[in-house]
Symmetry: C2
Subunit: 417 residues, 2 copies
Amino acid sequence: MERSDVRTKAMAARSAIRTLAGVEEEEKNAALEAVADALMDGREEILRENGKDLAAGEAAGISRALMDRLTLSEERLAEMAEGLRQLCRLPDPVGEVLELRELDNGLRIEKVRVPLGVIGMIYEARPNVTVDAAGLALKTGNAIVLRGSSSAFHSNRALTGVIRGALAETSLPPEAVQLVEDLDREAVRELMTANGLIDVIIPRGGAGLIQRVVQSSTVPVLETGVGNCHLYVDRAADPDMAREIVINAKTDRPAVCNAAETLLVHREWAESHLSGLCEDLKRYGVEIRGCATTRQRLPEIRLATMEDWDTEFLDLVLAVKVVDSLEEALTHIDKHGTHHSEAIITEDAAAARSFFTGVDAAAVYHNASTRFTDGGQFGFGAEIGISTQKLHARGPMGLKEMTSYQYRIHGNGQVRV
Amino acid sequence: MERSDVRTKAMAARSAIRTLAGVEEEEKNAALEAVADALMDGREEILRENGKDLAAGEAAGISRALMDRLTLSEERLAEMAEGLRQLCRLPDPVGEVLELRELDNGLRIEKVRVPLGVIGMIYEARPNVTVDAAGLALKTGNAIVLRGSSSAFHSNRALTGVIRGALAETSLPPEAVQLVEDLDREAVRELMTANGLIDVIIPRGGAGLIQRVVQSSTVPVLETGVGNCHLYVDRAADPDMAREIVINAKTDRPAVCNAAETLLVHREWAESHLSGLCEDLKRYGVEIRGCATTRQRLPEIRLATMEDWDTEFLDLVLAVKVVDSLEEALTHIDKHGTHHSEAIITEDAAAARSFFTGVDAAAVYHNASTRFTDGGQFGFGAEIGISTQKLHARGPMGLKEMTSYQYRIHGNGQVRV
């Protein structure tokens, strides 16, 4: 029987993990440096291949935003190479002894950090994910099977070609980085159900892609990304601080997952400050969709629909709701939140504590903008995505989050009696 | 629209988690003590209900082993109560600050251990799992939705009734413990796909049940249990130590997941010692199924089939294969292992190191029996199961493994610039 592209590549990746598990940090760093150099040396070919994707995108009439994300340039390649060099400077988490216990019978149990194994990465558009993900995988001793979108096919193929070519000159096996070239949807399904070959699937992209993966994958998934983030301005919020945080969380970069989408305002605070805040937001170009109470103050705004409370606008749109209590805010977040990032603005420490324990999200903020939920901001140095699930990793996932652990038990003949 | 039993109960469990997240360790311990007392006070009713299951099992002609696992007694109830009291003496992991970092901008980021939320537990036969799992969930601030097998229906209903009755007199919400009473298979499917209501599914039972859950669940799964464990007797193994470990790992308790199923023996060691070892095993009643080389020495044994290498016998049967090298042993384990527990017996430290990095399993042993892979033996005090996957938790899962974490970020007005 002929093997499919996905199975062939998953098996090739798997064949690399025993070698990868044994390589030293210096070897991994040398390999990353080699890949960084190769990206710069191969820039002409990469940009030529990228040009094919851009031409096809142009012909297919894809959006300006998508075209921008698809575009590579010498500068962007240099950034990708620099990202790899930064990875070299981060400590290698693999091999770290997380716990050590000695039992009465003399058994010594070490809990040691090990690679996850083979990562399956399913992602959209941006070709830089190809390099970032491969770099993070290699630094943590993982093999990776990449499945990018068809719109970036030539770019991804050129990039993985350069990566594998560079690895061939190092002590790391080039098989560790695989690109699925079968563009049929069936190939994605096959990757998500390759239990035994793939250890974890990481989806990166829009809400639709992530939901499809969560619904169909039998391989464990690290769910990333969707952020319907709330700001709750408490009764005891400082008005200037609230204003600054709301404007920053909504307008600094509205298209990213840690931007705020809904503003909840305590009724008492709203009485004195909501109209002013909304005026300020409008000056920043924000469209407000309000609850009935908000509209009583600002009749010109649109009434928020039920759907608006569940929407990650990723745009200069903000849903605004007046609530009677912290409790009502918590209930709203429980119902509409996506477990990403939520913030309370208040001078009342007890209210902040209740918010921390009452909100089921990866990152909960007191008196700060939700925009800080990011591996770079958190000091992780690198990030593969932001997890919104509760198993394994939550919030920004850096190098440590790309590892598992193993118990290593050292004995001298112990048997169980 | 009428809500199904599963959705109603999952929503009820979910309604409890905000309360649970805020309770103190003392309150949780008091509740566990109350449940332990209630189990003893309610023993007559519990045993009467258990009698119904036993009578039905008898009538259906279920196996002796299954009948034994189904049977409750005053003694077994006392053990379950004592298990709950032991939980009280274990430290509460919730609230532990795992990391603390202060950024240059003054943000203080705490990484705090929090409950997982709502656990869905799908399990077979033994009614004691009902109490054990509820106890572990409550101690870690989780709510739990239980779906036991139909054969233990009356027992499980009586036990959860007693647990909920006891909780009603404490500060913990009785809604935290739910039993799905709908015995249709569809109810299991519904539980496994209740994303947003259930945070994690834990299956406990045979390989068939676990595979069904892994294949069908869209909620993240903690895969537990199947152990096709190998012992590799290296060229440099001490003969007496090898003999003791092999006999212990195979015969101490063959029906459990950490028992050995396949013995791999280096050719050189086999030449002097394999015949003697097999004679010893036969005296312990072990049936040996050997590779062709093994049969050259012991012509009377059965030839192992391809299937045997993949079988968790859970019985006094051992597959035996002679290998030419450590490398061949690693390749065999890679192909047939279930990532549970694997052991090498050798006096050669370098071989042991290669085995540790080369084997992809939760627990890897050097010169000790695989039988130690167990929460109790590892000193965890309690165990919900043994994970054979690599995300979240690996190996024995105790209280810590029933938690997630949350980033709590304390600011004084920080915005991202």
